[in-house]
């Protein structure tokens, strides 16, 4: 990966082993500050594990992670997780309404979310105010993903980790969310790290891309590498996805 940019997150020989299974194998690389980097690769490549490490939900069994040039262990976990927000793949919801979920990040800090702000966040992700008091167990998969994205934005993190946040959305909603994330990236200089299975999305939205397979970082560079991968394994993967 080019080092023209200051890294928002730097990983040095990061490995993660659980029950003798190597989920991540000595990953070294950086996510440039203020840029969108996509993580692509087949299921089981270790992408979600990597994202959870950057948010502090998991710790490497070997190696080091630095956030804004500070070792991740220097951060208080709660501070780190507000600074590095994550939208989890399953879009989990707490019991209650959409408003309860949107207010959650602030409630955890003893603060309140105004109704006006909540509506604005909903509008940002393409949901109208009629959703505000709807129980989350009545939402579709796509609506849950949108609420999950809105909730992640509330902490106004300077680094956003997005785990397949558009997998359950229709084409129009995907475009709306892509536009929203691009705006957040440009307007507020927020660093975005986005796991996607959609290579077209990686090409159009991402500035950079990481290709991961079997817990290893196989290839990194500008997103255009996905058009003509130099690594034969990546070429095979790209061909398989596009087929």
């Amino acid at each position: 990966m080019t080092m023209l940019y200051e890294p928002a997150i730097h990983l040095h020989q990061v490995s993660f082993t659980v029950n003798d299974k190597n989920i991540l194998k000595s990953i070294t690389g950086s996510f440039p500050k203020g840029k969108i980097t996509t993580l692509v690769g087949p299921s089981g490549a270790g992408k979600t594990t990597l994202l959870k490490m950057c948010n502090g939900l998991l710790s490497p069994t070997e190696g080091h992670i630095a956030i804004d040039n500070q070792p991740i262990t220097n951060y208080e976990p709660t501070t780190l997780r507000k600074h590095v927000g994550i939208a989890l793949q399953a879009a989990p919801m707490i019991h209650g309404t959409v408003f309860d979920n949107l207010a959650l990040p602030l409630v955890l800090q003893g603060k309140k979310l105004t109704k006006q702000d909540a509506i604005q966040y909903l509008l940002d992700v393409g949901l109208d105010n009629s959703f505000l008091h709807r129980p989350t167990n009545e939402l579709s998969g796509g609506q849950r993903q949108k609420v999950s994205i809105a909730r992640t934005l509330i902490n106004q993190s300077s680094i956003l980790l997005l785990d397949e946040i558009t997998s359950a959305l229709d084409r129009q909603s995907v475009q709306d969310i892509e536009a929203l994330i691009t705006t957040i990236n440009k307007k507020y200089n927020v660093t975005i790290i986005w796991i996607t299975h959609n290579l077209q999305q990686a090409l159009t939205i991402g500035h950079y891309t990481w290709v991961m397979m079997g817990g290893e970082l196989i290839e990194t560079g500008e997103s255009s590498i996905l058009r003509a991968p130099s690594n034969p394994r990546v070429a095979e993967f790209v061909q398989g996805v596009n087929a």
Partner: protein, 250 residues
């Protein structure tokens, strides 16, 4: 009751044995084992209690209570296998429950300071505390397993372990206390409690028996609340490490 009369009560063991055989329930072996165990255990306790009461020594009372706490702990800890240090957490809870309840009963002179009162009452309170601990641990571990995503979500947003597990903790505490509270609502209407029935059969004045039963059910409320809350608040911190990450329950 004569030994002949007692022997005749074995008819109540023969009935389930015959029914189990007839309907192929396969419970004959367990029924026989349960019967033999109950005879041996109760006779042993009877002789031990007789010895302790006759001896009138405080040290024997302490030993009996310690034995009860040990047996209750060994039984309850099976349900909290995934929680580090659960044995000592249960011991601490049971000891606290015993000190608080007996402290009030003996401290205010509500019951006499004799083995005849302390041991049976301790048995009831520790037994109830053990059941509450089992109910709590059973529900708490199930709640954590089924709501792992929710707990992870709250941690990921910058919440503390206490915030992340609050709902599961409260649900488990409430669920474990429901049987105690519900059974007290219908006490005397549906069934006469065992201790009260025993006293009445033994020839005691029914009003006196009711007074003792009230003493017990009020004490059981404290036992239930203390047990669930203590086990809960002692258990949840060990489910997380110092980086506020949830540990796998083994």
């Amino acid at each position: 009751m004569t030994y002949t009369s007692l022997s005749l009560t074995l008819i109540f063991v023969l009935i389930p044995l015959v029914l189990s055989k007839t309907f192929k329930l396969g419970l004959e072996k367990d029924t026989v084992i349960a019967t033999i165990r109950s005879i041996i255990q109760l006779l042993a306790v009877g002789y031990i209690l007789k010895f302790v009461f006759d001896a009138g020594s405080t040290i024997y009372i302490f030993l009996m209570v310690a034995l009860m706490i040990l047996a209750a702990t060994l039984n309850a800890r099976k349900k909290g296998k995934g929680i580090k240090g659960i044995t000592w957490k249960i011991v601490f809870t049971l000891v606290t429950v015993e000190i608080v309840t007996q402290g009030v009963l003996l401290g205010f002179g509500i019951v006499p300071t004799t083995a005849q009162y302390i041991i049976p009452i301790s048995g009831m309170l520790i037994g109830n505390s053990m059941v509450l601990s089992i109910l709590f641990l059973n529900r708490f571990t199930a709640e954590i397993t089924s709501h792992q995503n929710e707990i992870e979500l709250i941690l990921s947003l910058g919440g503390t372990p206490k915030q992340a597990i609050h709902r599961q903790l409260i649900n488990a505490i409430k669920a474990s206390m429901i049987p105690t509270i519900e059974s007290q609502k219908t006490i005397g209407l549906v069934q006469l409690p065992g201790m009260m029935s025993g006293q009445i059969i033994g020839g005691a004045d029914p009003i006196q028996a009711v007074q003792f039963q009230l003493l017990i059910i009020f004490a059981l409320l404290t036992t239930a609340t203390l047990s669930s809350i203590m086990i809960g608040f002692l258990s949840y911190p060990v489910l997380f490490n110092d980086r506020l990450q949830m540990l796998e329950m083994k």
